[in-house]
């Protein structure tokens, strides 16, 4: 009896997929578009199921009935214009009834007009930066899962948290029921920003801006991952979006704006070397350590900074390479003058280097021309 029940359950699995969220089917849709996509998919699967049963039914009937071993004699027909025309036309008609609703969803997906909130998502190797263009602040959103949970090389490693690889230092926050337009771009290579529950996925392409949109129906936290191979840590750049009430969103924006104001650098400020080194370390750890390693030792295709020609040679070349990139090294135009001045100073006076000179924001500004 229990066995029968298990069988019945197995047979109904596809049907109860909504209940088993994101196990045998799409994650539960949270936007109208995601909902439409689900419906489209269900409709296509239904059509396919019918065709599947019909075609395979005929084939397996034939396989069992028209065997040589059961004495069946072959009949030598080899053409029938009527059926051939029919089985060309009928599938074509079926395609039309599939294409029609699909086209409507395509047009809705592409309509990014009348957005109430615009956020720019920038892909970096390997994390996301979010800029709230309407509110003048931005932040970086990085993997929060500790390395000890990821590395199992020697043993089973640390126990993995519930949202293993899907948790970030700071999620993107949006208000519920609001049409949010996402602009995507990238700093280095192509990444792709997507949240399955919202039915959005848009490549982030360096040098270009693309857009997509969503309007979340429900408060909650929704997760995705970078979906375009972007190098070493492609598997480790999650996307987390928290949908909050409109009031909570307002309060959060106020707080972030105040913080941004407090943290803003005065571009004309003259810094001391130690200030620059201290500031430079935070910039370095956030942006450069991923490839060149925290101690500047480099690895693989990424050169060591300790004792390198650039970090110990003329300072102009050093600023140049940070600003413009070279080969595997992306251009860091997106960092502020102060940040670049700080990180260059840091690289020349830490990480085992002792050049002794330092750079002011105005030098970087001049180098940008």
């Amino acid at each position: 009896m229990r066995f029968l029940r298990a069988c019945a359950l197995a047979a109904f699995l596809p049907a109860c997929s909504y209940a088993i969220d994101g196990r045998y089917n799409f994650q539960t849709p949270q936007t109208l578009i995601a909902h439409d996509i689900n419906e489209l998919h269900a409709w296509i699967m239904a059509v396919i199921a019918v065709i599947f049963v019909a075609v395979f039914g005929v084939m397996f009937y034939s396989i069992f009935k028209h065997r040589k071993s059961s004495g069946h004699k072959a009949r030598h027909f080899h053409e029938n214009t009527t059926v051939e025309v029919l089985w060309t036309l009928i599938p074509a008609l079926i395609l039309v009834v599939m294409a029609w609703p699909a086209a409507k969803v395509v047009l809705a997906q592409k309509n990014t007009g009348d957005a109430e909130l615009t956020i720019k998502a920038t892909g970096y190797q390997w994390f996301w930066g979010y800029d709230y263009l309407d509110h003048g602040f931005g932040f970086k959103s990085k993997l929060a899962t500790p390395r000890e949970q990821i590395d199992n090389y020697k043993s089973d490693g640390q126990a993995k948290s519930e949202h293993y690889l899907l948790e970030v230092t700071e999620p993107m926050i949006v208000p519920v029921g609001t049409k949010v337009r996402i602009l995507t771009t990238a700093n280095d290579v192509i990444h792709s920003w997507g949240v399955p529950a919202f039915g959005v996925k848009q490549d982030a392409i360096p040098g270009f801006i693309r857009d997509t949109w969503f309007k979340a129906d429900r408060i909650g936290t929704f997760r995705g991952q970078c979906v375009e191979l972007c190098g070493r840590d492609h598997g480790f750049m999650p996307i987390v979006v928290s949908v909050v009430s409109k009031d909570d969103f307002k309060a959060w924006v106020d707080k972030k704006q105040k913080e941004a104001k407090a943290a803003a650098d005065d571009p004309n400020k003259v810094w001391t070397r130690d200030e620059l080194i201290a500031r430079g370390k935070t910039v370095y750890d956030a942006n450069c350590a991923a490839c060149h390693k925290a101690d500047g030792a480099g690895g693989g295709p990424f050169p060591a900074l300790t004792g390198s020609k650039i970090t110990t040679g003329p300072v102009a070349a050093h600023i140049g390479i940070v600003l413009n990139g070279k080969g595997a090294m992306p251009a860091w135009q997106g960092l502020s003058d102060t940040e670049i001045a700080a990180v260059v100073t840091y690289e020349r006076n830490a990480l085992g280097n002792k050049v002794g000179d330092f750079v002011q924001p105005k030098d970087v500004k001049a180098a940008r021309k």
Partner: protein
């Protein structure tokens, strides 16, 4: 010996004079010289087939490396960089090293026999097109050991990522150049052979389906191989000579590469699929003891698929952000391919219908092909719907889809072809029991490996990641177990083939399956030189009548 074989002997008697002389000249080469200097289409076919099997095993071991890492969450065996190198090399090696050369090898071995030609049109060039392959493969393998390791940008080599890697990427680019030159020379040879060297009375519309698919496939190859060569050459100049084709900082466009790549890449998918259709169209009628149903519509369907394949490339790029009109155009075109593909499947089923079927190993693989290829076709239809593709793009759903087409499609049909023609090649029958075991074993574990990937993709697991969130654990574990079992099963195939070469279960008659194409009219094993004088018109006609082509 069948009466047909006697006819061949008659033909030979007619010019016994030249014959002995000719045979002498060529048989002088023995040992390694026979292979290195090979110009005989059968020897070259054999070389191609062994090379492609070696690459299949190499790429397969890499796939197992991927699956081992993905068995449980967390990183256990490889560093992420190396994982990416594994996926990249696995893809390149399987596509360019295993599947494509295998079909070229089959064409080399079988086309002259099936068409009644003495050899390929350009026998010396044929030697070159094969011998470019081993150095190309070597470049790929060596690239694993250079500083920075092999290319790790996926087999699609998208820039700007592919501009970042070290020397391994340059080696991959040179390797692709060599592979491309080899394919173009091979194609020209195949096309010329088919167009110029058919037996008297065998018009284009009467030649075997396998020849048709080879003809169309190789036209596709000549058209698109230079496109790929161009794309990777542009990568090379961007990397080393200061051009900015794909670098946004210099005014280039990274998406341009994707357009060029997929203008090659989509037809490439059919370059791996169409010959499989041809093989299946030979096997199914033979074991159904009925002529192929709808020969003409098969030819037209194959040609339409080939033409449409040039108009759908951007369905690989729905997420780069195209205008709505482009999105709609590519969606409709892609859906349209389902029509000719459907026609082919219906024709195969109609061929079986009311036949007198028996299920020797080649037939099992052919029927397995139809079942699984249809599943791959269905998932392709799902992917063609642009909004649904938004969810699926670059997830494991795509990995499942293309393995249903490439492993269950191309590879299964190749297995079928090998079992089908092995008696002709070796002169011995293979071990049927072991062949059947190989089929069922592969069938079961293939599905255990790749079916769960549909679910992983639906749930949103991105492809090309070395580690994954916890909700994907069970299906990944299942896929890994399946992959290892599938891989081990392939040793059965190797064993069976070697055993057959050494005598198998006994000598094979000239026509063990009672098939009607010309290759079965020569003795088994096929002598080193066949059809030195074209087959008699009556002989050709007899076969055509049996296939209902006349």
């Amino acid at each position: 010996m069948t009466a047909a074989t006697d006819t061949l002997d008659l033909a030979k008697h007619g010019e016994a004079g030249h014959h002995g002389h000719d045979d002498h000249g060529h048989h002088a080469l023995t040992g390694w010289r026979r292979w290195v200097y090979a110009t005989n289409h059968k020897d070259i076919g054999t070389l191609y087939l062994w090379f492609s099997f070696a690459m299949f095993i190499t790429g397969g071991v890499m796939a197992l490396g991927i699956r081992a890492e993905l068995f449980t969450p967390g990183m256990q065996f490889w560093q992420p960089e190396f994982f990416n190198q594994l996926t990249t090399l696995h893809g390149i090696i399987m596509v360019f090293g295993a599947i494509m050369p295998a079909f070229t090898g089959l064409a080399n071995w079988m086309l002259p026999l099936m068409l009644g030609a003495p050899d390929m049109a350009f026998a010396r060039m044929n030697n070159w097109s094969f011998w470019l392959l081993p150095p190309a493969a070597l470049l790929l393998i060596i690239s694993l050991f250079v500083p920075g390791g092999a290319a790790a940008g996926g087999w699609t080599l998208y820039p700007p990522l592919s501009l970042q890697f070290g020397m391994g990427m340059d080696l991959a680019i040179f390797s692709v150049h060599l592979l491309g030159i080899s394919s173009i020379m091979g194609s020209i040879n195949i096309i010329t052979t088919i167009l110029n060297m058919r037996a008297p009375g065998m018009t284009l519309m009467k030649m075997p389906m396998f020849a048709w698919t080879a003809l169309i496939t190789n036209y596709l190859l000549v058209a698109v191989a230079p496109v790929l060569a161009g794309a990777v050459t542009m990568l090379l100049t961007d990397r080393h000579f200061g051009t900015h084709f794909f670098k946004a900082v210099g005014g280039g466009d990274p998406v341009l590469f994707q357009h060029i790549f997929w203008f090659f890449g989509h037809p490439e998918v059919y370059i791996m699929a169409l010959p499989a259709f041809g093989v299946v169209s030979q096997i199914i009628p033979t074991f159904s003891r009925k002529p192929l149903f709808g020969y003409h519509s098969m030819v037209y369907a194959t040609a339409s698929i080939a033409i449409l394949s040039f108009m759908v490339w951007a369905h690989h790029m729905f997420s780069v952000g195209m205008p709505a009109t482009a999105q709609l155009f590519f969606m409709f075109m892609t859906m349209l391919i389902a029509v000719p593909t459907g026609v082919k499947v219906f024709n195969w089923i109609a061929t079986m219908w009311q036949g007198a079927m028996s299920f020797e190993t080649p037939m099992l693989f052919a029927v397995g092909f139809i079942c699984l290829f249809t599943v791959g076709g269905f998932s392709g239809l799902v992917l063609s719907i642009a909004p649904v593709d938004t969810q699926m793009h670059d997830t494991y759903y795509v990995v499942a889809h293309f393995h249903y087409v490439l492993v269950a499609g191309a590879l299964f049909s190749l297995f079928g072809a090998v079992y089908y023609w092995l008696p002709k090649w070796t002169g011995y029958m293979y071990d049927e029991k072991m062949g059947k075991l190989h089929f069922w074993w592969s069938m079961i574990w293939f599905n255990v490996t790749f079916f769960p990937m549909h679910f992983l993709g639906l749930a949103g697991m991105p492809r090309r990641i070395p580690d994954y969130p916890l909700q994907f654990t069970d299906f990944n574990a299942m896929a890994s177990v399946g992959a290892f079992c599938f891989g081990i099963g392939q040793l059965l195939f190797l064993y069976n083939v070697i055993k057959t070469i050494r005598g198998g279960v006994g000598p094979a008659p000239a026509n063990p399956w009672e098939a009607h194409t010309l290759e079965w009219e020569v003795p088994s094993p096929a002598p080193h030189h066949t059809w030195e004088s074209p087959p008699d018109e009556r002989l050709v006609k007899k076969g055509l009548v049996a296939q209902s082509l006349e």
